[in-house]
């Protein structure tokens, strides 16, 4: 085994480009992980499953099949609407409860009709991407409403256990919906671009570009808009946020919507470069999580940088020590944790 081969001018750029491409997607996942934890204190392990649902839903659509994602969406929509209606009834506003149920039924019927009409037509790729987002993104807020919102006042540990359970359920559902075989989606852009000695695929460039744009968009959202600032406020001081009228539930709903959109898009972005199976989500999510840990679950820039680093290390490791690739990536977390535990001030949990 020759490590020096890594630095061969024909190999190094290829590996670096590969690492950056996957790293960009991991960075998106790391940002979503930090966001969800900061606002709701949930360590959202099922984020990886959202990536899988993104890729495999798109793959189903390309075959002209209505994906199982739709039935999950409809069931969750029904459950969430029932819970919401019950809350209204308990507050003595049965009328609004009925309205919620009616609205959810209409929305469900509309989504069902849209999928039933559009999927067999095999729309162009951009249409499939939008359809996939329509099917995957609502799962985020719906899961928040049905699973996490009732646990709003639970400890971080209970929320983590709920996350593990949810991860197992979603992995099982992915097996039922998409079968045991992996799928690879076709690239969004074909061909290569040559920059000097380095040849990059348009697809890689597209992934990096879209990820960067998404991060820029998130930055503006959090820095300039009222809803974005409200999410930051909830993360900084939950009671303070409630005192200005920001309800933790609406902040949680928005957060999980963002996370689901990010992860679903991430899944479609790396779909062409990874053979995705129903159980790939955990490892992918974990790589984003390591990035998030490098950022201490609070710093967005550090989390993004950490995740890109994870992508690069993974890429170089897969070339020279491919059997040890995951071992190397996950061992990386040990020195990081050690460094963080030595440099970070310890904050007792009850002080938030």
């Amino acid at each position: 085994m020759d490590f020096l081969q890594l630095f061969d001018p024909t190999i190094f750029p290829v590996l670096a480009a590969d690492g950056l491409t996957n790293g960009a997607v991991y960075a998106l996942l790391a940002l979503a992980t930090v966001l969800v934890f900061a606002v709701t204190r949930v360590i959202f392990i099922p984020l990886g499953e959202f990536v899988v649902f993104g890729t495999l839903t798109l793959a189903s659509l390309q075959l002209g099949k209505v994906p199982g994602t739709l039935s999950l969406l409809l069931v969750l929509l029904g459950a969430a609407a029932l819970m919401e209606a019950l809350t209204w009834v308990r507050r003595g506003q049965a009328g609004r409860g009925l309205l919620t149920l009616g609205g959810a039924a209409l929305l469900g019927a509309a989504l069902w009709a849209l999928a039933g009409w559009a999927v067999p037509l095999k729309p162009p790729l951009w249409g499939q991407v939008i359809l996939t987002l329509l099917l995957v993104a609502p799962l985020g807020p719906l899961i928040y409403r049905t699973v996490y919102q009732p646990l709003q006042n639970a400890t971080v540990l209970v929320l983590l256990i709920a996350s593990v359970a949810l991860h197992l359920v979603l992995t099982g559902l992915a097996l039922v919906f998409f079968g045991p075989e992996g799928s690879r989606t076709p690239p969004f852009a074909a061909g290569n671009v040559t920059l000097g000695q380095v040849t990059l695929s348009w697809q890689s460039l597209l992934v990096i570009l879209v990820s960067a744009l998404l991060m820029l968009g998130l930055y503006f959202f959090f820095d300039r808009t009222m809803p974005g600032k409200a999410l930051r406020a909830t993360a900084v001081n939950r009671l303070g946020a409630r005192l200005v009228g920001i309800s933790p539930s609406s902040a949680g709903t928005l957060t999980f919507t963002l996370a689901a959109v990010i992860a679903g898009l991430g899944g479609m972005l790396i779909g062409p470069s990874v053979a995705m199976t129903y159980d790939s989500g955990f490892l992918i999510g974990l790589k984003g999580f390591i990035g998030a840990i490098i950022g201490g679950l609070v710093s967005y820039p550090l989390a993004a940088v950490g995740a890109v680093l994870v992508g690069l290390i993974e890429s170089f490791a897969s070339f020279s020590l491919s059997a040890w690739k995951e071992v190397i990536v996950f061992t990386l977390i040990l020195p990081v944790l050690l460094w963080r535990s030595l440099t970070t001030r310890h904050i007792p949990e009850d002080e938030e």
């Binding site: 507050r91 003595g92 009222m226 600032k229 409200a230 930051r232 406020a233 900084v236 001081n237 009671l239 303070g240 946020a241 409630r242 005192l243 200005v244 009228g245 920001i246 309800s247």
Partner: protein, 245 residues
């Protein structure tokens, strides 16, 4: 409960608390408290540490669950969550201030208008800056880097951005130098002109009675005395225990 004066307030009641009970586990922090706050008045609640003053504020705001009745603008607040109370015009400036420490002063103030985000709140920002010129100077600074007095100003300013009809102020003078306390209480007094009704909790009884119309004295979760602030300020028994003789 002894009333110093039997006179009924002439102004309509903005807030009426009837027989409020709040418990922490088995400890009854509020044991049948009734408080009336007429619109446009400044009403203060004084009492020693642990008398239940902060609990009263948190119960009215909906931070803590309580039993008994709270009427605001003639409507019961039962089952109305905290966020909805904010939208109806009640604002609490909590004892711990609960600012967004890692965000700028301007962002803190902007978020104060969250419940009115569809209205035009920018004019109110100028109004708050006019009341607290110090905040205008510090508007790009992070809230966590402000001095104690400035943080209290920011907490009050943030609450005012919500255009409250009823402002609940919990110990605004806590931990502040006497000069700053005077400034802050003067600003509170100035709020009355702007149509804000204030319920003020203070340990600094003499200073708060001086700017209040009515006052209540809380002792171990019960109202032991209430009446016009001027009369309470002259009350000898009260003077011995709260006003420093």
């Amino acid at each position: 409960m002894t009333a110093v004066s039997g006179a009924q307030p002439a102004a309509p009641l903005l807030l009426e608390v009837r027989n409020l009970h709040t418990r922490y586990g088995r400890v009854e922090a509020l044991d049948g408290v009734s408080v009336q706050v007429p619109a446009g008045h400044i009403v203060s609640v004084i009492g020693a540490n642990g008398a239940g003053k902060t609990t009263l504020m948190n119960s009215i705001m909906g931070v803590l669950p309580s039993s008994g009745e709270i009427f605001y603008q003639g409507q019961s607040l039962r089952g109305v969550p905290l966020e909805a109370r904010v939208a109806r015009g009640i604002s609490l400036v909590p004892e711990r201030r609960d600012l967004f420490a890692s965000m700028t002063v301007a962002d803190n103030l902007q978020l104060g208008a969250y419940s009115r985000r569809r209205e035009n709140w920018r004019a109110d920002l100028d109004d708050v800056y006019a009341r607290f010129p110090r905040l205008l100077e510090r508007r790009t600074q992070l809230a966590g880097t402000l001095s104690g007095g400035e943080q209290q100003m920011l907490a009050i300013g943030r609450a005012l951005m919500g255009k409250p009809r009823l402002l609940l102020l919990d110990e605004p003078s806590l931990g502040l130098a006497p000069l700053i306390v005077r400034d802050i209480l003067r600003i509170v007094q100035g709020l009355r002109g702007g149509g804000v009704t204030v319920l003020l909790v203070e340990q600094n009884a003499r200073a708060s009675l001086a700017i209040s119309d009515e006052a209540y004295v809380l002792e171990t979760g019960q109202v032991s005395l209430h009446g016009p602030a001027a009369e309470l300020a002259r009350n000898e028994a009260l003077g011995a225990s709260y006003l420093g003789g």
